[in-house]
C-alpha cells in the first residue's frame, strides 16, 4: 500500500489560466471542497431528506518568502492585489512527485497574509476560492 508524505506535494499556478509553473518554496497547501445541501423533506415525513447542491472549494498555500521576482511565484504572492480578477487563474495542487495526482481548478486569490517573526523564516499564506469546475485526478 502506498502512502505519501507532505513533502511529496507541490503547487503550480498560472495567472493567465494556461500553462502552470511550479510555485517555489511551498511549505504546505490545503483545499476544502464543499457541497451545499438542499432540504427536500416532504411534508409529514419522519426523516429529513437532503440532496446535493452546488460544489465549491477554498484553500490556502503557505510559501516561504525568497525575494523572487518576475516569475509565477511572485505573481502568485501578489495576485491578491490585482484590480480586476475574473477568476481565470489556473491552480494545480499535487499530491505526489510523479505529477499525475493532482487537483486542478480555476480560481481567485482572496487574501495573502505576509508575516515576519523574529527567529523564523518569513512566510506568506495565500488563500483562494475556486471558480467553476474542480477536477480531482487523485
Amino acid at each position: 500500500m502506498a502512502f505519501f508524505r507532505g513533502q511529496q506535494g507541490s503547487v503550480k499556478f498560472d495567472d493567465g489560466g494556461s500553462t502552470t509553473v511550479a510555485i517555489a518554496s511551498t511549505r504546505s497547501w490545503s483545499l476544502t471542497v464543499e457541497k451545499e445541501t438542499l432540504d427536500t423533506t416532504a411534508l409529514g415525513a419522519t426523516y429529513r431528506a437532503n440532496v446535493g447542491g452546488l460544489i465549491s472549494g477554498s484553500g490556502t498555500c503557505e510559501v516561504f518568502y525568497t525575494a523572487t521576482s518576475s516569475d509565477e511565484t511572485n505573481v502568485f504572492i501578489e495576485r491578491v492585489n490585482t484590480a480586476t480578477d475574473q477568476g481565470g487563474a489556473l491552480f494545480e495542487l499535487f499530491l505526489d512527485t510523479s505529477g499525475t495526482k493532482k487537483i486542478s481548478f480555476t480560481g481567485t486569490v482572496t487574501s495573502s497574509e505576509y508575516s515576519a517573526t523574529v527567529g523564523e523564516i518569513e512566510v506568506i499564506t495565500v488563500s483562494f476560492v475556486t471558480n467553476g469546475t474542480i477536477t480531482l485526478d487523485i
Partner: protein, 141 residues
C-alpha cells in the same frame, strides 16, 4: 542547486574566527580534531562546530526543494588563572560580536549564549568560559 557542502559551511564558520583571532592581539585557536599545545599563562580558544538537525523546509522531491540545516558552535575561551575574568571576557566579546545575528555566505548565526564560566576547566590551570550559538543554513536541491 546541489546538496549542501558541509566543509564549505565549516570553513565559513571557522575561517571567520581564525581571521579575527589572527588580528592583534593574536589568540591561538584550535578546531575539531586539531592538536594545540598551549603556552603556559597564555590565552587560547577552542572552536567546535557540530551539525545537528536537518529538517524539511519546502515541498518537492530530490530537486527543486529546500532543507534546513542546523548546527551548533561551541567556543571555549582559556585565559591565565588567578588574574580575574577581564582578559577572558575581552576575548569572549570579540567572539560574540563576530557572530551575533550575522548572515555570512548564507549561514545565519543566532544570538550567542555566554561567555559562561566553566567550573572545571579542561585542561586544568586556566580560567575557562564558553560561548555557544546555533546557526542555520538552507540546502537548495
Amino acid at each position: 542547486m546541489a546538496a549542501v557542502n558541509l566543509n564549505t559551511i565549516r570553513s565559513t564558520i571557522e575561517g571567520r574566527l581564525a581571521t579575527e583571532l589572527a588580528l592583534s592581539p593574536v589568540i591561538p585557536v584550535a578546531f575539531h580534531n586539531q592538536p594545540l599545545t598551549p603556552t603556559p599563562n597564555s590565552s587560547f580558544v577552542q572552536c567546535l562546530v557540530s551539525f545537528g538537525n536537518n529538517n524539511f523546509l519546502t515541498m518537492g522531491g530530490t530537486t527543486g526543494s529546500s532543507n534546513s540545516v542546523i548546527g551548533v558552535i561551541v567556543m571555549n575561551v582559556f585565559t591565565p588563572k588567578g588574574v580575574g575574568p577581564g582578559a577572558n571576557l575581552t576575548i569572549g566579546k570579540r567572539i560574540r560580536d563576530l557572530y551575533n545575528r550575522q548572515v555570512v555566505s548564507g549561514v545565519h548565526f543566532d544570538p550567542p549564549t555566554g561567555p559562561e564560566v566553566v567550573a572545571s576547566p579542561a585542561p586544568e590551570g586556566y580560567f575557562q568560559t564558553q560561548v555557544r550559538l546555533t546557526f542555520e543554513t538552507f540546502e537548495d536541491l
